[in-house]
Amino acid sequence: MAAQVPLVSYLVLDDAGPHLSAHTCTACGALSLERRNACPKCGSAAGFVDTRLADTGVITSFTIVQRAAPGVKAPFVSATVALDGGGAVTANIVDTDPDPEHVALGMKVTLTTFVVGTDDNGTEAVAFGYAPAA
């Protein structure tokens, strides 16, 4: 099996199975997906601990991109997902037809991963998305 790296650092690929991880402010508990120097909510520089986020959530907004940036395959569904237990993330909705009959506000979804590229060493980049919950 080819070596794999996550597309972004807040996707963790380990023995516990692919999942999202957030930096949690030790002062106020605010979640950040990206690396921060201090907390964007309270300004504390006390530091962060990593927290595993839920694999499930609901779609709170979405669009279906038809006219995409050059080199980007369309159509695809871009959605904001509010994760069960906290955290919000933007990702594609996959494993369903990209049309408003198959994607809906409030729809329950589950994390899934897929390969989006391979580098010259044969290493695969793995992205995450959400599929309608079974």
Binding site: V5, P6, L7, V8, S9, Y10, A30, L31, S32, L33, E34, R35, R36, P40, K41, I59, T60, S61, F62, T63, I64, V65, Q66, R67, A68, A69, P70, G71, V72, K73, A74, F76, S78, A79, T80, V81, A82, G86, G87, A88, V89, T90, A91, N92, P100, L105, G106, V116, G117, T118, D119, D120, N121, T123, A125, A127, F128, G129
Partner: protein, 401 residues
């Protein structure tokens, strides 16, 4: 005098559209010279310039404009604040006058966008030599299309859909109606890039950009410039009566950014900053939203306009759909919104947009808006959003000196 009131003395904008025969300095000069002439003053009277051109942000656009219209040695503030750049330029001049350092100043916004295509897109898939994490999210390759979209029609479609998720009695049909309204308004505005009616059915059937935003629901890329001359009340008193009569008072000038919200990292929040800015602006002006005779708000996409009926308090909380159904924002409605045609028709030359909002309100308060005039307009509000996010709001009032 510190804390003195600030007035709009002169205002001008070019027609928005394609100006292939002009460059960015031609456009800026037309707007700047037009605003100076409109106020009956010259560049020699100016104490400060606030200038913005987002796609020339590092180019010293203000100094370049001075070389076209007069190098008088006054301070120039070159500003960049995404789609709030124009409002920021205006506010820079406003603050200079408020601080007592200037009596009169020029704010100018200009953009030449030609056929730039989609804004906000990341690069497509690059050649992947060896995956190496970079940036704050440690990405190993471009994420556009793999982790949702950051193209503008998509981001603002999602912002609109979030309103539908959070509120009842509103659906995608409302977005189509908004676009039809603004295009209907545009036929009265000779300065608008497009001046063409579209039915709701035509809008639905138009080429899809990012569902539910079809092409006429998206602001086009536009060439254009706008400028205003601001003056302190003290200095205004020294000017001729006929000049004083056309001056319009700025009763609120506010910039606000987005405070932290949990979903903000997933989807830029354009709501909280608008709510906060609006609250400040109404307090500053001593004006209630129901007192507004017209509003020019940031309809970069039809999906965005709906949010701001609510954010600006034009309707009850959650009542944006009802406000539209009751024809509130039509030019014959309770609070006409985007009688200029809005960015969807008028065009959106990024840095010019915020200044053009002041031009539009000023023109109505002076009673000089021709076919699109809102009769008897006394108070108007202009609003812009720069993604990232910044909200700029100015409230203008027809007032006796």
């Amino acid at each position: 005098m510190a804390g003195d009131n600030v007035w709009v003395l002169g205002a001008h904008m070019t027609k928005f559209g394609r100006h292939d025969d002009k460059d960015v300095l031609d456009l800026a000069s037309i707007a700047a010279l037009g605003a100076l002439a409109d106020g009956g003053v010259t560049i020699q009277d100016m104490d400060v310039i606030g200038a913005g051109s987002l796609f020339n942000a590092a180019a010293g656009i203000g100094q370049q404009i001075q070389k076209q219209i007069g190098q008088t040695g006054i301070p120039v503030f070159n500003v960049a604040n995404a789609c709030a750049t124009g409002a920021t330029a205006v506010r820079t001049v406003y603050l200079s006058i408020k601080a007592g350092e200037a009596q009169m100043g020029l704010a100018v916004g200009v953009e030449q966008m030609g056929k730039m295509g989609l804004l906000g897109m990341g690069a497509g898939s690059a050649a992947n030599k060896e995956f190496t994490p970079s940036g704050r999210d440690g990405r190993v390759m471009p994420v556009e299309g793999h982790l949702g979209t950051f193209t503008m029609p998509g981001v603002f479609a999602q912002a609109g859909m979030q309103y539908l998720y959070e509120n009842d009695d509103v659906d995608v049909e409302h977005f189509y109606k908004i676009s039809a309204k603004n295009h209907e308004h545009s036929v009265r505005n000779p300065l608008s890039q497009y001046q063409k009616r579209f039915s709701v059915d035509e809008i639905k059937a138009a080429p899809m950009i990012s569902w539910p935003n079809t092409m006429p629901m998206c602001s086009p890329n536009t060439d254009g410039a706008a400028a205003v001359v601001l003056v302190s009340e003290e200095r205004l008193r020294s000017l001729p009566k006929e000049v004083q009569r056309r001056a319009v008072k700025i009763v609120a000038s506010v910039l606000a950014t987005d405070p932290w919200v949990e979903s903000g990292a997933a989807l830029p929040d354009v709501n909280t900053c608008t709510r906060n800015a609006a609250k400040q602006a109404y307090e500053m002006a001593g004006v209630d939203p129901q007192d507004l005779d017209l509003v020019e708000l940031h309809d970069c996409f039809a999906t965005a306009e709906l949010l701001h009926y609510d954010n600006l308090g034009l309707c009850e909380r959650g009542g944006a759909g009802k406000f539209l159904d009751e024809r509130g924002p039509y030019r014959d409605g309770k609070i006409p919104v985007n009688v200029s045609g809005g960015l969807e028709s008028k065009g959106h030359p990024i840095a010019a947009t915020g200044v053009a909002g002041l031009f539009e309100i000023t023109t109505h308060l002076r009673g000089e808006a021709g076919d699109r005039q809102i009769e008897g307009a006394k108070v108007g509000l202009t609003h812009v959003i720069g993604l990232g996010s910044t909200c700029g709001i100015h409230i203008l009032e027809k007032s006796a000196l």
